[in-house]
Symmetry: D2
Subunit: 87 residues, 4 copies
């Protein structure tokens, strides 16, 4: 099941990689700034989604296991990740 | 200790309330848009900080306890809060 | 018309001020963290909307006039406001 | 000069493309979630910077020219771009 999720994440990342490549072509072809910005928005939304899916997996997995095993450092690390990842 | 933290949070919220009142006065006095926007940024940063402090407390407290007690719904709820709170 | 818009902005700010007051009461009454966070999200969305409305007015008014009058500094200021206001 | 700026933007986008490729490899190699999230944060910060640089160029160029030529639609379009690009 974790395997499938990795595949889905990789599919999303492939699409994002293609979008970044598309942004480069748009720049090289002097496409209209506003169209380029919309394409960047799409890539950013894609990365945000992947980040939340990985954070989701991290919390369900490592964090839950760590807390059950009395590992307080996993909580500190999670709080730091949230602090740094969302502004 | 939780009491002290509540006091600190209330101090921050009092300051934010004052900032929102200040924004109203700036509007009424036809102050320059850019100055008003900077004041809104300050109030927003204040709310973001309070939100992260409360989420921090929630994760250290309720979530950690819930997981130790085998309450899976607390994890689902946390994931939904993160999803809705950070964009 | 600017008068009406100011009134509408003040109505929105009154609602936000009430929400911040509500957050304080929720803290004092030891309400559930997650409910408090949702209330903070609501206040933040309110401030974001007011900020965009004021930026909108600024661009339609001051910025447009400034550019027509050959005032380049208004463009520099706008770029700095966008840089500082959106992260 | 616009040429140089395009080159600099392309350099940034190449780096971002490399970071997205790196995120894929980290996933395939089952690297620690938190490390992957930090790498996603880096790619997101890179895209945000490119977006602001392009918006900057758009405002200094197209928007300023459009306003001077009495083209009101360029202002409406700018407001919509800001609305959609910053949350």
């Amino acid at each position: 099941m974790s395997e499938i999720t990795n595949n889905k994440l990789l599919q999303r990342l492939n699409r994002i990689e293609g979008q970044v490549g598309g942004i480069k072509k748009m720049l090289e072809n002097d496409r209209y700034c506003v169209d380029i910005i919309h394409q960047i928005n799409a890539a950013q939304a894609g990365l945000e989604k992947v980040k939340k899916l990985i954070l989701d997996r991290h919390i369900r997995g490592c964090v839950t296991r760590g807390i059950k095993n009395g590992d307080d450092s996993i909580v500190e690390e999670l709080l730091e990740v949230i602090e740094r990842s969302f502004k």
